[in-house]
Amino acid sequence: MKRSTTILSALILVLAVVSMAFAAEGNARKGKYLYRQKCRACHGATASDLSPNSKTQAEWKKAFAKPEALKCFKDWKGVTPEEKNDIFAYLHDFAKDSPSPAKCN
């Protein structure tokens, strides 16, 4: 039983890693729209408080690998896995160390 739990955990971990790898394939444009719809109410009405440019690509990957650790996770209830992927793609693809960093003030 213990062994199978370990295998299961390992499998979940692998799936999580794979899904993160796929996550970058999310629709960044839709992600921008969704981010504004679902995240910005808390993360800055002036749009200057949190933007893709706030973190590096590695930091966004880390944050989205374990979103339950984020303070705002309780407010993610209405976000589907697909939408999460899109939001991640937006934040990741325009991160501050990305090839096309989001312009901000």
């Binding site: 629709n27 444009r29 839709k30 729209y33 969704l34 504004r36 719809q37 910005r40 009405a45 002036t46 749009a47 200057s48 590096t56 690509q57 693809d93 325009f94 501050k96 160390d97 090839p99 096309s100 960093p101 312009k103 901000c104 003030n105």
Partner: protein, 732 residues
């Protein structure tokens, strides 16, 4: 070539109003009216109003002298430190932009064939209804990405981007992919940032591929002169004896396309002689060993063979540059739309700077200073039927998604792939006069169902449109707050209020877009006026509005340099990437690999055509100006005197210049001031628009002759890749 001898008097005669600028003379004349009235002298009959120049992208602060509602003169705003209290020749000529009889006065609807010049004056209601109906139609037939939006450098261009996003099109181009994108690409990929040069505190500046005494950038142009008076050295590399070359400490007539060889040899000297900042390189850069191995054989002797600059000079310049570090720099430059490998050429500039340890140091390269401005957010809808991305997506490895590539976009519009693009909204940019290969721009336009241009004059691009909407000049309108960078001194903020009421029936693009957003069903994207927008921008700077009204400029808090010490760079390795892992992963050269430039010769095309600037010309946006055209009434072909002799061309002879793209006729300027393998002409002439009375058919159009090439990494146009033949008109 290096012994070309031009006397100082010769330069001064030719310079005209080039670098000379109107100093803020008597303080009295510069003060607003109320201050003057306080003295015993009689108050003048004119009013003084703050403005912001619009004759180029620098946006220098000015004071307009207005008599009975008419602008009589423009003076510099002495509180506007960025221009060092000066206003250049173009700035002074801004009066004639306002009162130019060639201005578009009412909305104009095309009634003849495209480009035929038959127009009908219509009212604004009809114009806006038509525009909205066409945009709606294109969205329905071709998705919203079927519209392309192009806006030039203007403080209201941000509204075009906002509108495009709300409308739902990903296809937006700015002037950047016809100008500075390769430099931005190179510095973002090396430093994670596009730095500002702190010329004012520099002791040694290499100007390569930048003609800063004519292609004026405030405060750099003024500061280069000031620092030389204080003993600093400015080294110019240019195939032409430009005004910058004439004024510099030294000039080398480098072979065009070989700047990278020069920079790699500099890196060789700095590394092999251990002249680099060793602590900085160890802590803050990555890939040094790979760079050292890469340049190990790239000696000054090797570079001499490529560049034509003596090896001893290259080695000396490298040593002098390093000795002055960190208050020294390879000037990053601005227009980098030169070669198909311009990103890599500029990477070599960035790398030499990194070796100097000049990042965030006085006299070096500094990160953009904070502005304090807030963005004004909105919520754009998402359209599920849109294609996945821009029409030029994935065309080059590292396209900037928010800039795109005009040249590649144009190609894809012509092809109709990956999807059709059938509408074009153009604001204050003029690709018919600025994008290489004008026939292709025309071909692109012929593929469109609808094209609308908002501009002050009937530019060559407007001339091809279906609908032209008259814009006010910058002195007639209210603008949002704009932040301007100024090296280590920090950013400054400016805004515009109307100096006079809008002339004719002109309307600012903001009002046009606001009206269209209501007609197209997304009024919430423009639910503000400019005053409200400014308030939101300045939300974190409560004192700024009052100071802007009082001084015409506001300086936000500027933290001292060195604030980024110990902080990660915004690159994947968090260090300055001498060796780019991203490039390696993408199959690009991870270090700049020198490729000798192509050589001409086919079909007698022995000359490389290079572009450049006069201080009295801002491309096609200023050549039709009545005052400036007195200085530059037409363009000429700079042709080396030895080459001219071989071709039998005499001074002032009309020559025919031909490339595979096209040809033009203009007068030859036979001169020792250019290499024998290179020719040069100004842009902005040889216009096709019947609305440009001073430039239509005058001189040659450089974009008729330039071939359509682009930077292989970022898609920036590459306008130094064209070889031309030259012959005397009528010669066989």
């Amino acid at each position: 070539m290096s012994n070309i001898n031009i006397s100082r008097r010769d330069f001064l005669r030719l310079a005209g109003a080039a670098v000379t600028a109107t100093a803020a003379t008597a303080a009295q004349a510069a003060l607003p009216q109320q201050a003057q009235a306080a003295g015993s002298a009689k108050a003048p009959e004119w009013e003084s109003k703050f403005g912001v120049c619009d004759m180029c992208f620098n946006r220098c602060g000015l004071i307009a002298r207005v008599e009975r509602g008419v602008i009589k003169k423009l003076d510099p705003n002495p509180k506007f430190a960025k221009s060092r209290g000066m206003l250049c020749a173009r700035g002074n000529a801004g009066v004639d932009q306002v009162y130019d009889p060639d201005r578009v006065k009412t909305p104009m609807l095309r009634v003849g064939q495209r480009g035929e010049g038959k127009w009908k004056s219509i009212g604004w209601d009809e114009a806006l209804d038509l525009c909205a109906a066409k945009m709606k139609d294109i969205a329905e037939k071709h998705t919203r990405c079927g519209m392309l939006f192009s806006a030039g450098a203007d403080t209201q261009s941000q509204f075009v981007n906002r509108f495009a996003e709300a409308y739902g099109s990903y296809n937006v181009t700015s002037h950047e992919s016809l100008c500075l994108l390769s430099g931005s690409r190179a510095f973002v990929d090396t430093f994670g940032d596009v730095p500002q040069p702190d010329v004012k505190n520099s002791k040694y500046v290499i100007l390569a591929g930048a003609n800063r005494m004519e292609a004026l950038v405030t405060p750099d142009s003024m500061d280069l002169m000031a620092i030389m008076r204080q003993g600093a050295k400015v080294v110019v590399l240019d195939p032409r004896y430009t005004k910058s070359a004439a004024l510099a400490s030294e000039w080398h007539a480098i072979k065009p396309g070989t700047d990278m060889a020069f920079m790699l040899a500099c890196a060789h000297v700095i590394i092999t002689e251990k002249l680099y900042d060793q602590a900085f390189v160890a802590e803050r850069t990555s890939g040094f060993d790979k760079l050292a191995a890469h340049v190990a054989q790239l000696t000054p002797q090797w570079a001499e063979g490529e560049t034509g600059i003596p090896a001893a000079d290259i080695a000396r310049i490298a040593r002098e540059l390093a000795a002055a570090a960190p208050a020294s720099m390879v000037y990053p430059g601005r227009r980098t739309s030169d070669y198909e490998n311009s990103t890599q050429i500029r990477r070599s500039f960035a790398i030499v700077n990194a070796l100097l340890g000049n990042w965030d140091r006085p006299g070096g390269l500094v990160p953009a200073r904070p502005t304090g401005l807030k963005k004004v957010p909105f919520e754009a809808p998402f359209y599920d039927d849109n294609p996945p991305g821009r029409v030029d997506m994935k065309s080059v490895p590292l396209l900037f998604d928010d800039e795109g590539s005009f040249v590649i976009t144009r190609e894809n519009v012509i092809k109709g792939a990956p999807y059709p693009l059938k509408g074009w909204f153009v604001y204050k940019t003029n690709p018919m006069a600025t994008a290489p290969d004008r026939k292709k721009t025309r071909e692109m336009i012929d593929k469109l169902d609808f094209m609308v241009v908002v501009d002050i004059t009937m530019s060559d691009t407007a001339w091809m449109a279906d609908l032209v909407l008259p814009a006010p000049s910058a002195l007639e309108r209210q603008d949002p707050v704009q932040a301007l960078q100024s090296g280590a001194e920090g950013a400054c903020l400016v805004w515009r209020d109307p100096v006079i009421a809008p002339l004719h029936q002109s309307r600012p693009v903001f009002e046009i877009l606001k009206a269209l957003s209501a007609k197209l069903g997304f009024p919430e994207a423009f639910d503000f006026d400019i005053a409200k927008y400014r308030e939101l921008q300045l939300a974190a700077l409560p004192e700024a509005a009052g100071i802007l009204k009082r001084d015409g400029v506001y300086y936000p808090p500027n933290p001292p340099l060195g604030g980024t010490d110990g902080q990660p760079f915004k690159t994947p390795s968090a260090k300055i990437e001498l060796y780019s892992n991203r490039y390696a992963e993408m199959g690009l050269e991870a270090l700049p690999v020198y490729q000798p430039p192509k050589t001409g010769g086919e079909a007698g095309r022995r000359f490389r055509l290079v572009a450049g600037r006069s201080a009295c010309v801002t491309q096609a946006s200023s050549t039709n100006n009545a005052l400036l055209s007195e200085f530059e009434p037409e363009n000429t072909l700079w042709l080396n005197e030895d080459a001219a002799r071989e071709l039998g061309v005499g001074q002032g002879d009309v020559v025919e210049v031909e490339s595979p793209a096209g040809k033009g006729q203009l007068k030859a300027l036979v001169t020792p001031k250019i290499r024998k393998d290179t020719v040069y002409m100004l842009s902005g002439f040889g216009s096709v628009s019947g609305g440009l009375s001073r430039t239509k058919g005058v001189g040659a159009s450089i974009v008729e002759i330039l071939e359509s090439r682009f930077d292989a990494i970022c898609g920036n146009s590459a306008i130094h890749e064209t070889f031309v033949s030259v012959k005397k008109k009528g010669a066989a």
